[in-house]
């Protein structure tokens, strides 16, 4: 019998993408996150979850529901409202050999614990050679009248801080597979889970161990235009693409922002010759800006049109639904931009 919080798994992680003969179960994006936490906590006794209201209550969004009952108060820890301490003590626990997964109740709140993330965790390995294996779960994104403090997409903050990995899955299977991969990573990983996908998006998810690499994925094939998106925008992009003839518009789901799958982006754009980059985040210095710069720098001669971007303007996300929709990219606006590029 192993001592709690000390047993590391025996087997080396193996990337095992879902195959046709694997058992799958249909679940929501949110259930897939819970499933990943449960699987990884069963597999590795060093994994613990901590955050505000994550214990018996199961978290503000119920992402940790059932974990307290199964794993107990040491491994599913309710914390005071103190993001710097949640993140900072996780850094310490990681340095001391555990694998903490922090839930930041809303991604917007991470700003109150930012220093521990960008100055302590992010710089640790480069400065000292010490690994900080921890995951920050960040419920992010808008679309449901959350207002300026419950709707942000702060991923660019983390992309600009060296030493942090940043991932943002769009499907239940990827949510499970990439969270599992994040927990097994030896570095701090910011895991952006889009709140608007939590219960709206269902899909088949492999049962048991499931790992997805931090790479991009073509989710819809096309020959004339690539739409690059991640998170909730992947679904809008796919819907916009479906308004055109089959085979015209390709949708590339970035899935990971750091590392950024440059090869996948360039391969797609070189094939289609046109690119539309969509961000739900504010436009300036967003992930999409990095993608646009990459394409301009390394695929210029393959382009048949301007690199187009569609993102939220540089204002906070408004509360009133009409105002919010005026700010966030919509399927109509994506389809309109795609049409203009196709006609270019």
């Amino acid at each position: 019998m192993s001592t709690p919080l000390t047993r590391a798994p025996d087997a080396a992680p193996a990337m095992a993408p879902a195959s046709a003969d694997r058992d799958v179960r249909t679940m929501t994006y949110l259930q897939a996150i819970t499933d990943a936490l449960r699987e990884e906590m069963r597999r590795d006794d060093r994994v613990l979850v901590l955050g505000e209201d994550v214990g018996a209550f199961g978290g503000a969004f119920k992402a940790t529901e059932g974990l307290f009952r199964e794993f107990g108060a040491d491994r599913v820890q309710d914390t005071p409202i103190a993001e710097a301490a949640i993140i900072g003590t996780s850094v310490g626990a990681a340095l001391a050999g555990l694998r903490p997964v922090c839930e930041v109740q809303f991604a917007d709140f991470v700003a109150t614990g930012f220093d521990q993330l960008v100055n302590v965790a992010g710089k640790m390995h480069w400065r000292t050679g010490l690994a900080v294996p921890m995951v920050l779960r960040l419920p992010s994104g808008g679309g449901f009248a959350g207002g300026p403090f419950h709707s942000q997409n702060p991923e660019a903050w983390f992309m600009h801080a060296p030493g942090l990995k940043v991932v943002a899955p769009s499907t239940p299977a990827d949510a499970k597979g990439m969270l599992s991969t994040a927990i097994r990573d030896h570095n701090p990983v910011c895991f952006l889970e889009h709140k608007h996908l939590y219960r709206r998006i269902k899909g088949e998810v492999p049962v048991g161990e499931h790992l997805e690499p931090f790479t991009a994925k073509v989710v819809r094939r096309g020959e004339d235009l690539t739409i690059v998106a991640y998170g909730a925008m992947v679904h809008l992009a796919a819907e916009a693409a479906s308004r055109f003839e089959d085979g015209r518009v390709e949708v590339l789901d970035l899935r990971s922002l750091v590392p950024l799958d440059e090869d996948a982006i360039l391969a797609s754009v070189r094939r289609t010759g046109k690119v539309l980059v969509v961000d739900e985040a504010n436009e300036t210095c967003a992930a999409g800006a990095q993608v646009a710069a990459l394409v301009a720098d390394r695929a210029f001669s393959d382009l048949d049109g301007p690199v187009r971007r569609l993102a939220a303007p540089d204002v906070p996300i408004p509360f009133s639904p009409g105002l919010e929709q005026a700010v966030l990219p919509t399927t109509d606006r994506i389809a309109e931009a795609a049409r203009e590029l196709l006609d270019y």
Binding site: L48, P80, A93, L95, K123, A131
Partner: protein, 371 residues
């Protein structure tokens, strides 16, 4: 300003000075002399333009890191020694030549030239490097202590910060977490009267030690210029933590005798205050006491100097890091290694009697073979 009864607000007094041997006492003096000698050389190297960036010293505060670190066991971690705490590194046995290489920006295994001044740690010795945002590493230390507690290990985390670090919100968050969960963390607040140029009178209305009770832990005021008092208080705090009774905040009262860094002439400090504190120099007073007990202090100083000279020569002969290495190693690719391997030469007073002595402070005998 700070000349007062150091035990005025003590609520839990150290219970004597447990079993310090003569060898221990020589070691305590040796580490303090080692720290001061090193730092005097460091200032000189900085003024000669050989040290890039800046240099910070803890002149007059040597008793605090030396006394505190001396009370730790080999499995304990220090997270983290700060700019006045070189002595803690020396007690743990971090290789002296490597430390000097680090200061000079030469290639070295502690920081590979990526960090400067006292921003280094030796994981093999259970030391994590500090960051500049204080008291961030206090928060991290609480997390380490949490891991030790959850795994049922008999280990503590020792953390250092200054009076200035008791103002940011992170201090409150760490105090609250540590007190709430009774984490095995030993908290040393070095109250040297100044946060850069700002005196404590302009920083807070209630002293850090008095605030400790509000977080459910004892606050102990110790004479930070008395190495044995620091040792005893830290030893008692460690014992308390290992009993499961939680953290202790030790407020070590002292005076910053130099500027914030070598670039700072500290003309904002009243010279009369410095004169008063100079009379209480932790090394001079302890050396006089040990000399009275028959310790050959001159020989101890000479041995420290010899080792320092050799280490400086070796460090100056070391090349600068390869510029091409600046971008590698951002991400870890392997499972984290253990922090501290139990082979730190010191288990404080409980260590073998011959572990102390004048030879130790300069870090001689450590081949520097850590990770």
């Amino acid at each position: 300003m700070l000349v007062e009864d150091p035990h005025r607000t003590t609520r839990e007094r150290p219970v004597g000075h447990p079993t310090l041997t003569r060898a221990d006492r020589e070691a305590l003096l040796g580490f303090m002399v080692g720290m001061r000698t090193f730092e005097e050389r460091g200032v000189a190297l900085y003024k000669q333009g050989r040290t890039p960036g800046s240099f910070y010293d803890g002149h007059g505060q040597e008793a605090i890191p030396v006394g505190a670190a001396f009370a730790m066991g080999p499995d304990d971690v220090i997270c983290s020694p700060l700019i006045r705490d070189l002595g803690a590194h020396l007690v743990r046995g971090t290789d002296l030549t490597e430390i000097i290489r680090h200061h000079l920006g030469r290639d070295n295994r502690l920081s590979r030239g990526r960090e400067g001044n006292v921003h280094f740690g030796d994981p093999a010795k259970g030391i994590v490097a500090m960051v500049s945002m204080l008291p961030d590493m206090f928060v991290v230390a609480v997390g380490m202590a949490m891991a030790f507690r959850l795994r049922g290990e008999r280990r503590v985390a020792l953390t250092f910060f200054g009076d200035g670090a008791t103002s940011p919100g992170a201090w409150h968050e760490a105090m609250n977490f540590a007190g709430l969960r009774k984490e095995p963390v030993v908290i040393v607040c070095e109250n040297n009267g100044l946060a850069y140029s700002t005196p404590t009178s302009a920083q807070f209305a209630v002293s850090p030690a008095d605030r400790a009770a509000a977080y459910g832990m004892p606050g102990v005021v110790v004479d930070g210029n008395d190495v044995e008092a620091m040792f005893a208080a830290t030893h008692a705090a460690r014992e308390r933590a290992l009993r499961g009774d939680g953290p202790t905040l030790i407020e070590a009262r002292t005076m910053r005798m130099h500027g914030h860094g070598s670039h700072d002439d500290a003309r904002y400090v009243d010279p009369a205050v410095l004169d008063a504190w100079r009379e209480r120099d932790p090394i001079a007073t302890y050396a006089a006491r040990l000399q009275g007990d028959g310790v050959d202090v001159d020989a101890l100083r000479a041995a420290v100097l010899d080792r320092l000279d050799a280490a400086v020569d070796a460090a100056l002969a070391t090349p600068l890091p390869d510029p091409a290495s600046a971008t590698d190693g951002l991400f870890a690719t392997e499972e984290p290694g253990p922090l501290g391997r139990g082979d730190a030469p010191w288990s404080g007073f409980a260590g073998p009697g011959d572990a102390g002595g004048p030879g130790r402070p300069a870090g001689a005998g450590d081949a520097g073979t850590g990770r």
